[in-house]
Amino acid sequence: MTIRDMIDKLDCSLAAGTEEMLDQEITGVYCCDLLSHAMAKLDPGNVWITIHTNLNVVAIASLTNVACVLVAESIEIEEQTLARAVEKQVVVLSSAKTAAELSFELFCLLRKAE
């Protein structure tokens, strides 16, 4: 499943990133707001679900090579974070759903796609 497929199936919208970046395959999902944990556990190609929207999220997403960051609960994403995401080529998505709902739905979608 690519990021584009996920956007279609999982009610979420693109906050940062270009069309061609959406072809990346998703390898899994991880949900955590503790940055040390997230950094240690995120694998390349993962979707990282978080409610943080500060600059450090982009730094960690870039370091871990995740497929995208998915911000839950429509939390407003800081402008400098979006600008940095564009600069670092990190895809950022936003959804009104909670982190728990997104994790569950994405997990089911990934299982189905296997």
Partner: protein
């Protein structure tokens, strides 16, 4: 890789707009050198944690990186307040970070334990009011 590669970075204090840049540059470099992905991941995690510690606690500092054929040695040094009780600081969950740092998702007392977990060797030298030097080695 025959020759040793040396890189130096400045780590500005309390500036999250560039926090992680040194680690990110090193990760890219290791990737270009063809180092195994799991070794790159360990290096990136350990170095990023140490870099963030220098940003948050050390009033900024410097990173000195040496890459040879079989390992990377990262030295992160600061002239900050030093670590008062190193044994305590190494304990998971112990942190002296402020509320504003915690609100960003740091300050859970995971930094130093995370470095220890991902480094093959970790040496910390710290002196009160003089600063801290964290030396991380990851074998390839």
């Amino acid at each position: 890789m025959g020759q040793m590669i040396i890189r130096d970075f400045d780590i500005p204090a309390n500036d999250f707009s560039v926090a992680g840049e040194a680690s990110s540059t090193v990760r890219k470099l290791l990737s270009q050198l063809g180092v195994a992905p799991d070794r790159i991941k360990r290096t990136a995690i350990a170095m990023y944690e140490a870099e963030i510690n220098a940003v948050i606690h050390g009033r900024g500092g410097k990173a000195h990186v040496e890459i040879s054929g079989d390992k990377i040695i990262i030295e992160i040094s600061d002239e900050g307040p030093g670590i008062e009780d190193l044994e305590l600081a190494m304990q998971e969950g112990y942190s002296t970070a402020t509320d504003s740092i915690r609100e960003m998702g740091f300050g859970a007392g995971m930094g130093l334990p995370n470095i220890k977990k991902h480094a093959d060797e970790l040496v910390i030298k710290s002196e009160k009011d003089k600063g801290t030097v964290v030396t991380i080695t990851v074998n390839f």
